[in-house]
Assembly symmetry: C2
Homo-oligomer: 464 residues x 2
C-alpha cells in the first residue's frame, strides 16, 4: 500500500510539494464551475482532508456529483491550505471514484443529524459518522494504553476462560452454553436434561469474571491481568448495562488493599493521560457535541489525588450531609449512585477510593478485616459517574475462607482448585475489575454504554 494516512498528511509528516495519494470516503462536496472541494476522511483521525479539484480534470462532472460515503482515491500535490481549518490540503491531479452510494437519498448515514437511537439501528454504518469514528479511536487508545500500562509494569496478560462449568463467583445471572439439540433433549431417567451428553459433559456457562482463574496465575507469576469479554444474563435495560462487555482485571501477589488501590489510581491516570495526549482531536468533538467539559474533567483526573476514605466514614459524612437521598443511608447498606456521586462530586470534588465495606454486602473471597465486621474491599468513585472500579484484597487464609464460604451458603468442596491456592504457598494478594465500556463512556461523555461498543448485546437484541 503506497497511499498515505490522512492523519499523517494533516500532521505534516510529508513535505509540502510532494505528490501523495490518499484513499477514503467523501464527507462533503462543494463545487462551482471552476473548482470543487472534496472533504475526504479515512478514519485515521477525526478530521477529513480537503482536496481541491480543478475543472480541467476529465471526470470533473462526476466528481461534483459525489455524495457522502462515496469512496475515492485522490492523488495530488500536498500544499499549504489558504483557508481556515487544516494546515494542509491536496491540489488534486487525479480523483478515482472507487465506490458510489446506491440511492444517496435513502443512505442511512446521509449527511444530517441522526439520533444515537437511529445510528444504533445501523451499527454496521455508524462508525462512518464523526461521533462513532471518534468513539472507536478513543476506545482503541484506551485499550492500547491499558495493555501498555500493565506490560510496562511487569504484568502478564492472561486469557481466563470464557466458557466455564461453574458459577463460582455468583456475581450474576449466566448464559448457558450448549450444543444439545433443543428439540430433542437427552434425558436422565428422572426426566431431567442429561448434560452428560452435552459438549463439555456437564452444564456450561459464559463467564461473569476472570478473577478466580486470574488468581491462579497471580499465584505463580506475581502480577497478571485479564482483558476479555464477560457476560451477564440480566434483564437490565439501562444505559449502564450490557449482556456482553469487556473487563480488565489485574491480580497482584504480595499486595494488600493499599497496593491494589494504588495500582487502580495509577492505571486510571495513565490511561487518562494517554487519551489526552493521543486523541485530543476526538476529545474536542465530545466536548463540543456530546458533553461539555469532558476534556477539563480528564485533565483534572489525570493529575488528581485520589482520596482514600473508609466506608464507615463515608456513611457518617452522608448522614451529616443534610441531603435528602432517595435511598436512606445507614451503616451496612450498599451505597447507590446518588451517594457515590455526592461523595465524589460534592463532598470531595475528586475521585475517592472507598475502602473496608461491611462483609455482608461483599463477596466471599474478600479478605476479612480484624474488626470482624468489614472486608478489605475498595471501590473507586469518580465525579460524574460514581463507581468505576471495584476491587479487594482476597482472603488468603484457608480457615477464614472456609468459614466465610459456609456463612454464605457455599460448599468449599465446590472450590477445590481455588482453595488449593491457599493450601500451597498462599500469599496476600488482591486485584480489581474495571468495566471497559464504562471507562469509554466516562472518557467520551457518551451517555449509554451501547454506544461505546461496536455491536451491543442487550435483552432482545443481538443483531449483526
Amino acid at each position: 500500500m503506497t497511499h498515505c494516512a490522512i492523519s499523517d498528511l494533516l500532521a505534516g509528516k510529508y513535505a509540502v510539494g510532494e505528490t501523495v495519494t490518499l484513499k477514503g470516503w467523501v464527507r462533503t462536496v462543494r463545487s462551482n464551475p471552476n473548482f470543487a472541494f472534496l472533504n475526504v476522511n479515512d478514519g485515521s483521525c477525526f478530521d477529513p482532508i480537503q482536496a481541491v479539484i480543478d475543472n480541467t480534470l476529465a471526470n470533473y462532472e462526476e466528481i461534483t456529483k459525489l455524495t457522502v460515503a462515496c469512496s475515492v482515491e485522490v492523488t495530488g500535490e500536498l500544499v499549504e491550505s489558504q483557508g481556515k481549518g487544516q494546515k494542509f490540503e491536496i491540489q488534486a491531479q487525479t480523483v478515482n471514484i472507487v465506490g458510489l452510494v446506491e440511492d444517496p437519498d435513502t443512505y442511512p448515514m446521509a449527511a444530517k443529524r441522526h439520533t444515537v437511537e437511529h445510528m444504533r439501528e445501523y451499527a454496521h454504518l455508524r462508525p462512518r459518522t464523526n461521533m462513532f469514528g471518534a468513539v472507536a479511536r478513543v476506545r482503541n487508545c484506551l485499550s492500547q494504553a491499558i495493555h501498555r500500562f500493565f506490560h510496562e509494569s511487569g504484568y502478564v496478560w492472561v486469557a481466563t476462560p470464557i466458557i466455564t462449568a461453574s458459577d463460582t463467583e455468583g456475581a450474576g445471572e449466566m448464559f448457558r452454553v450448549s450444543t444439545l439439540d433443543m428439540n430433542n433433549l437427552p434425558r436422565l431417567e428422572n426426566g431431567e436434561v442429561d448434560y452428560n451428553e452435552d459438549f463439555f459433559g456437564k452444564e456450561a456457562f459464559l463467564t461473569v469474571s476472570g478473577q478466580l482463574n486470574g488468581e491462579t496465575y497471580c499465584s505463580a507469576l506475581s502480577k497478571i491481568y485479564t482483558f476479555g469479554p464477560t457476560f451477564r444474563a440480566e434483564n437490565s435495560n439501562t444505559s449502564r448495562h450490557l449482556a456482553e462487555f469487556w473487563m480488565v482485571e489485574p491480580e497482584i501477589a504480595f499486595a494488600d488493599l493499599a497496593d491494589v488501590a494504588q495500582v487502580a489510581e495509577d492505571m486510571l491516570k495513565y490511561v487518562f493521560k494517554a487519551v489526552l495526549e493521543e486523541r485530543m482531536d476526538d476529545l474536542q468533538f465530545f466536548d463540543l457535541r456530546v458533553q461539555k467539559g469532558v476534556v477539563e474533567r480528564l485533565q483534572k483526573l489525570a493529575n488528581a489525588e485520589f482520596v482514600r476514605m473508609d466506608y464507615t466514614d463515608a456513611i457518617d459524612i452522608l448522614q451529616k450531609s443534610g441531603k435528602k437521598f432517595e435511598f436512606p443511608v445507614e451503616w451496612g447498606v450498599d451505597l447507590s449512585s446518588e451517594h457515590e456521586r455526592y461523595l465524589a462530586e460534592e463532598h470531595v470534588g475528586a475521585p475517592i477510593i472507598l475502602q473496608n465495606y461491611p462483609k455482608d454486602i461483599k463477596a466471599f473471597y474478600m479478605r476479612m478485616n480484624e474488626d470482624g465486621k468489614t472486608v478489605a474491599a475498595m471501590d473507586v468513585l469518580a465525579p460524574g459517574i460514581g463507581e468505576i472500579i471495584g476491587g479487594s484484597q482476597r482472603e488468603e487464609r484457608i480457615d477464614v475462607l472456609d468459614t466465610r464460604m459456609k456463612e454464605m451458603g457455599l460448599d468449599p468442596v465446590d472450590y477445590g482448585w481455588y482453595r488449593d491456592l491457599r493450601r500451597y504457598g498462599s500469599v496476600p494478594h488482591g486485584g480489581f475489575g474495571l468495566g471497559f465500556e464504562r471507562l469509554v463512556a466516562y472518557v467520551t461523555g457518551m451517555g449509554n454504554v451501547r454506544d461505546v461498543i461496536p455491536f451491543p448485546r442487550t435483552p432482545k437484541s443481538a443483531t449483526f
Copy 2:
C-alpha cells in the same frame, strides 16, 4: 509495594550492596549446618534468584525445612554471585515465611518431572512450573507484540461481538447461548422451541470469527484488527483444536491480496523478533527441553523472505515431487498438512504464502479472480507447522458477491448488513486470521494447543 521483581534484580537494575526485598515461591532449598541456599522465583522471568542464608538467622531451622512452592519474603544485600549461573544473589538478612505447603509429599507440582498430561489436570498449579511459567510469559510477549505492531501501523482494535444471532460465515459448528429453562422450554404451537422467549428474542450462538463484523469497521476506519476469543463446537480431539481459542483478525481497506500477504509477513516477523528480544530466557528452555531448534527456527523466520506461490503452481510442484502422499494431489483439492509441510520445509525451506485457491474450496466472501476459477485467498505455510494464517481479499462487487452466495446456497437477504458495505462506498479490502494458540505453540515448540492456553476447553472438558 516496595519489593523488587527478580527479573530486575538479575538484570542488574539495582546496585550491588543495596538492601533489597524480594517476594516469591521457593524452587529449591539446599543446606548444611552453616548455610542454606534458597532459590526463589516470582514468575517475572525464567530464572530464580539465590538467597544465601547464614545459620545465625533466628528461623534458620524453619528455613531449611521449606519445600517447593512455599512463599517467602527475603530481605538482604544484593551481592555478586561467586558461583556459576546468575551474576547476582542475595545475602539474606531476614527470611519471612509467608505460606507453607500443606503436605509437601502430595503437592501435585512437587519438584520432579511431570508429564504434560498430569500438569493439564492441575491447570491451576501448572503455571508454577518452569514450562508453564515460560509459556505464559511467551504468550504475553506475543500478545503485546501483536497489539504493538497493529497500533504502530495505525490499526484500530475493534471488539467484534462474541454472541451472535447468525452463523454468517458457516465456518463451523456453533455453541448455542441461551437463558431458557431447559427443563421447561417455551414452545410454539407446532411444538418447536420458542426462541422469542429467549434472552435475545431469537437463537444466539458463540462467534466463529469476527471477520464479517470487522469489515464494517474497516469500511469506516480503513485499518482495524480484532483480538478476541472465538469458538468451534467441533468434536475434534486433536493437538491443534480447541473449542475456545483466541484469534487475531486484521481487516484492511484499499488493499488487495498482495497487501494482505505483506501485512501477514510483516506481522509474523515483528512478533518473532519481539519474542527473540524479550524472552530469550524462556526460549532457551524450550529449545533445551521441549523442541530442539526453536530458537534457530525463529531467528531464521524473523529474517526470511516469505515466498509467494500460486496454488496452481504448488499443485504442479507436488505432483512432480515424486513423493508418495497419503492424500493424492490434483487441482481442486484442499491441501493437507503433509502437502503444506512438503512445500514449506522440503521444496522451499522457508515460509510460503500460497495464493489464489480454487473457488470451490473457499468461502463465499473471497474475491473472484478474473479466471473465474480461483479466488484471491492466501494461506501462510510455515516450516514445522504448515498453515498458520489464512486470509483473502474480500469480494467488494455486490453483483459478484450475490452470485457467489446463491451458488453456495446462501440467501443474500440474510446478509443485508454485509451487503450494505458493498452498496455504500465499497472499497477493495482484505484481511486474515491468525489462531493465536497455534502461534504460541509454534513459537514455543509445545506440541499441543491445550498447553499454551491457561484453561483449555475441549470436548468433555471445561474444568476450572
